[in-house]
């Protein structure tokens, strides 16, 4: 695994030249008439998106999927190009969300069809993209700082996704040459700078988009190495949903995603609340979640995505009964998901169900007809994960029982007391930094260890070993010794108690417990704690 692969940094360069204001010539009916009111009304004419709108919404969808699945360490820099380059955000983690990008895009607005096309060019954006790739991200910076003398191990790679309308193949070549030259120049600059990094590898993805029904003037070309630093590929795509489909395929390729279709989801019908039908929902996630299928070549589980938008989806069946939260499943991986069709009713039903804290086991249909539960969908704090459950034979089967091993024959362990101990030593997050008296940062986890150390200084494991804890009701010594600091009153109390005990011993009074303990031994052991 590499953190700083090409997908650490993605630069979108979207053409904002006058031509992009052209219609994509794919109509959208938006005035869908409700049945009982249709009479006598002519629906409003359908509208169509501009090339710009198609490009922007497709790239936003790319980002949506990416942010859902990789909320950290995968960054996008969005650039719009017309008479100059407009950089809409930075590499910082705060800038990495859809809301920021949408607000910035709204500020740019659609391209002006009446602007002078001669002044506008996608080149401004491409140059800015190379500049952006040289800029160090906070993750790269942090890694370099931690690695110190090995800082050169931190890679700087990136990807430029450029959506434009090119004039010809030679125009495309000109764009590629420009990127290559700019990289060359900026790498020279970066070599002499502390804040910039040289680009080691850049993947240029040029997407030529044009209105539906027109002939493309640019031909597709698979990935090709232009120089050791730069590779380039060209996609010629019709606008409208074709462009969206292309970017959906690309986001899957770029981030190693795979698709799972959850099938047989029981759902109440919108119109008839008392009937339910079964629905399918398609999710994207990292392809590691399919590692078992991929390696074992279990291809029969694959099917085709409903609209044939991309290669393959693995079908998993919704499984009832559901699992409960106190069960600890053996889970070999958990991967964030993103619904392909986020706003569709089946998708939002499924995601809301999960966000409400319920989990669903998923069953893998197998050739033999046997049922194997292989995955689980579950949300943790508003994020949904696809858990991979181990479905193969366990190498730990039939282990010797703990009662057969060391300490297994002892029967009077203080199980309940230790349970209480564990509950008192549960962990909780401390998100605000706290400081010690000397001003240094306090690490909560170290505090937890200190507390365990203190609480176990005197902690007999079996009932017959302890007198003090068994007398707890009468003699409150044990609860005092774990206190952070003893007050004078506590000390006084303890002393009183001990004198009492000593006194009782002298008088040969029985101790206030029924078990046979070593009489009078307690106070001696306790002696150390008074030094606290």
């Amino acid at each position: 695994m590499k953190i700083f692969s090409e997908s650490h940094k993605t630069v979108f360069v979207v053409d904002h030249c006058p031509y992009m204001a052209e219609s994509c010539r794919q109509h959208v009916e938006f005035d869908m008439l409700v049945k009982n009111r249709t009479q006598g009304i002519i629906p409003l004419a359908p509208i169509s998106k501009s090339l710009w709108t198609c490009s922007v919404e497709s790239s936003m969808e790319y980002c949506r999927i990416m942010y859902d699945i990789f909320p950290f360490k995968k960054l996008v820099n969005f650039i719009v190009s017309d008479s100059g380059a407009h950089v809409l955000n930075s590499w910082t983690q705060e800038d990495q969300n859809l809301q920021e990008l949408m607000a910035a895009l709204a500020a740019v607005g659609p391209p002006n069809p009446r602007a002078d096309p001669e002044c506008c060019s996608i080149l401004h954006g491409l140059v800015a993209a190379v500049e952006a790739l040289c800029k160090i991200t906070e993750y790269q910076h942090e890694a370099r700082t931690t690695l110190m003398e090995n800082a050169e191990r931190v890679g700087n790679r990136g990807r430029i996704i450029c959506i434009t309308n090119a004039k010809s193949d030679s125009h495309v070549r000109m764009l590629e040459d420009c990127v290559q030259e700019t990289i060359h120049e900026h790498n020279k600059l970066a070599a002499n700078s502390d804040h910039l990094m040289q680009i080691q590898k850049c993947e240029l993805v040029l997407i030529h988009t044009y209105p539906v029904g027109e002939e493309s003037l640019v031909s597709d070309r698979p990935k090709k190495e232009l120089s050791p630093v730069l590779t380039s590929e060209v996609h010629s795509v019709r606008a409208g949903r074709h462009l969206a489909t292309k970017l959906n395929v690309l986001v899957q390729q770029h981030f190693d995603l795979a698709s799972t279709t959850i099938t047989n989801i029981p759902m109440k019908e919108e119109q008839h609340a008392n009937t339910s039908a079964n629905y399918d929902v398609e999710l994207l996630h990292h392809k590691e979640a399919h590692v078992d299928f991929l390696k074992s070549g279990d291809n029969h589980v694959g099917g085709n995505s409903r609209e044939g938008t991309f290669k393959e989806t693995v079908t998993l069946k919704w499984c009832t009964p559901r699992t409960n939260s106190v069960e600890l499943h053996y889970c070999t991986g958990a991967y964030r998901i993103s619904p392909v069709d986020v706003n569709s009713r089946p998708s939002s039903c499924l995601t809301n169900f999960l966000l409400n804290g319920r989990s669903v086991l998923l069953e893998q249909p197998r050739k033999s007809g046997s049922k194997v539960i292989s995955h689980m969908l579950s949300s943790h704090g508003g994020e949904i994960f696809l858990h991979v459950l181990s479905s193969s034979r366990s190498i730990l089967e039939d282990p010797p029982s703990i009662s057969e091993g060391c300490g297994g024959r002892v029967t009077d362990y203080r199980i309940t007391d230790f349970g209480e101990f564990m509950r008192e030593n549960r962990l909780t997050p401390f998100l605000e930094p706290r400081y010690k008296i000397d001003g240094s940062l306090e690490i909560p986890l170290e505090r937890a260890k200190d507390q365990l150390e203190k609480h176990t200084r005197y902690w007999p494991m079996i009932i017959s070993q302890t007198t003090i804890f068994n007398m707890q009701a009468v003699v409150p010594l044990a609860s005092v010794i774990v206190k952070e600091a003893m007050t004078d009153e506590d000390v006084l109390n303890c002393q009183k108690t001990i004198y009492n005990l000593v006194d009782m011993e002298r008088k040969n009074d029985p101790l206030p417990i029924s078990t046979v303990g070593t009489r009078g031994k307690g106070p001696k052991r306790l002696h150390a704690y008074f030094l606290l």
Partner: protein, 518 residues
């Protein structure tokens, strides 16, 4: 990690070895001797390991399926016949099948290949396999790298000089390379004799089959334990930090978390944590190395009667439904819990999280976890009815925040219809109407889809003309107002098309109508 022993039984293994002053040995005998030693070691010190035995020549055969019964394995060693030529590729393919059938593709396996370094001739020989390696298609893929995580150990019944005199060593090295470098080649150091074979297998045992002993600690409460299977070193990032990290032999409990809060976390591997009793020489008494069984039994009995922290911890974890968070190294954690095998048998298990400062997003950064006594009030509540977990992420995911996606026409139509439905229920639905309207407006502005704003404005104006006589007069005012606001926004003029601006309901003076009844 299960083990597959792959034994070469081709004719070349019967080549005699000259051993001074004793009867004649064949290489095969040396191999059997070495394997016997390996099996004996496993039977005493590594007895939970599953091992299978495969023999091969031009064909292969599974002699013993995966078992912990080392007697059966030993017996099989003495029942091997001699066959024809070496054909490694088909044997490795056989190993793939055997392992995947039994364990799937996720469980790491160790493959111990025992051969004499004669790699066969003609088709099916390793040379031939390697020579054609680059011309393979998916259907006749070379079996390496194995489709499961693996280590390939090649035990050569030959010394280095002999292997280097031909290209055998190069071929075997390529084999390891093909397995992504996972594995190692062992050769006999010096002349071929029983003693040197023993030392070769001794190195394999040291490398792969020494039990992992550790000390489990919770403050002052401690226990000596064996962790089985051995935790494997892990590489966090091959580029930034290519050195494999191994876990500490001190396993330090840092605190406890409820099972519902840890919530079936993803783990790298899981291991049994078995308490052991170490005697003064540092030998373990528990799973026993003593030859005398009576001694062993009595020692076991004594150990069974001495209270052990593992047993206490296991009991309480089981009763309370909790896990113990354990630190395995710098920025590496795991969890201890009770795992029931059947109704009666249960065990202390340890699962390893992926190394890093934040292995589970829903617990947050591990270093930020502290004792509840440091919190102002108990985050679990006085009645134990709440929990500080899971942690909420800073940004919501798309499915949790009602994003607008209009790639499919249906997405757009649904959003428009929502507005329309609410428009027809004005003024009751004034708030929802404007909420939906503003959502559409924002998205249309971001996507530069101004034509839609104009279209929806037209639609609202039409709705206004269609209002029935019974409609509340406010409805017409609101519709006209909304339509007009969308129209000005659709010009894209900066004063009307600001993203953060929201269209507010028109303030009207009709009694009890301007606010929505919730």
């Amino acid at each position: 990690m299960p083990t597959v022993v792959v034994m070469d039984v081709s004719l070349s293994m019967t080549r005699p070895v000259s051993v001074e002053g004793s009867e004649e040995y064949q290489r095969k005998h040396l191999a059997v001797h070495g394997l016997t030693m390996l099996f004996e070691h496993m039977a005493t010190n590594y007895k939970l390991e599953f091992t299978a035995l495969v023999v091969f020549s031009s064909l292969w055969e599974l002699m013993v399926p995966f078992t912990r019964d080392y007697n059966t394995l030993q017996e099989a060693l003495s029942n091997m016949d001699d066959y024809d030529k070496t054909c490694l590729e088909s044997a490795l393919l056989g190993v793939c099948n055997i392992v995947q059938q039994e364990w799937g593709a996720a469980i790491p396996c160790q493959v111990v290949l025992v051969t004499d370094g004669c790699l066969g001739i003609g088709r099916g020989s390793l040379r031939h396999s390697l020579a054609t390696h680059s011309q393979r298609s998916d259907s006749n893929r070379f079996p390496l790298p194995f489709p499961f995580p693996s280590k390939l150990y090649v035990m050569c019944m030959a010394n280095l000089e002999e292997l280097q005199s031909t290209d055998s060593l190069d071929c075997l090295e390529r084999l390891i390379d093909l397995n992504n470098g996972e594995g190692q080649i062992f050769t006999i150091d010096g002349p071929l004799c029983l003693k040197n074979v023993q030392s070769m297998f001794g190195s394999l045992i040291d490398l792969a089959y020494t039990p992992f002993h550790a000390v489990l600690k919770c403050g002052h409460l401690t226990s000596d334990v064996q962790v089985f299977p051995r935790p494997e070193p892990f590489i966090i990032d091959e580029e930034i930090d290519p050195i494999p990290k191994a876990i500490n032999t001190d396993l330090e409990i840092v605190g406890f978390v409820d099972i519902a809060d840890i919530s079936s976390p993803p783990v790298l591997s899981r291991h049994l944590v078995l308490p052991i009793a170490l005697n003064r020489e540092g030998d373990e008494v528990g799973p026993g190395i003593t030859d005398d069984t009576e001694d062993e039994n009595s020692a076991n009995q004594i150990a069974g009667k001495i209270p052990n922290f593992c047993v206490l911890l296991h009991g309480s974890l089981k009763v309370e439904g909790m896990v113990a968070v354990v630190q395995l190294g710098p920025e590496w954690f795991g969890m201890l819990y009770s795992q029931a095998d059947s109704k009666k048998k249960s065990n202390l298990m340890m699962s390893l999280f992926e190394p890093g400062p934040e292995p589970l997003p829903w617990l947050g950064k591990m270093a930020q976890l502290g004792p509840i006594s440091d919190a102002k009030e108990n985050p679990y509540g006085e009645d134990d009815n709440k929990s500080p977990f899971p942690l909420q992420p800073k940004n919501k995911r798309s499915y949790a925040q009602n994003v607008t996606v209009w790639i499919k026409p249906s997405g757009l139509q649904t959003d428009v219809q929502k507005i329309l439905r609410n428009a027809r229920k004005l003024p009751e639905k004034t708030q929802t109407f404007y909420k939906e309207l503003n959502r559409l407006r924002k998205a249309a502005l971001a996507f530069g889809f101004l034509e839609l704003l104009k279209g929806v404005a037209d639609m609202l104006e039409r709705e206004c003309t269609l209002l029935p006589d019974t409609a509340h007069p406010d409805a017409a005012f609101q519709l006209t107002h909304a339509a007009q606001q969308l129209k000005v926004a659709s010009t894209g003029a900066s004063e009307y098309a600001a993203y953060d601006h929201n269209i507010a309901p028109l303030q009207t003076d009709f009694p009890s109508s301007s606010t929505e009844r919730m």
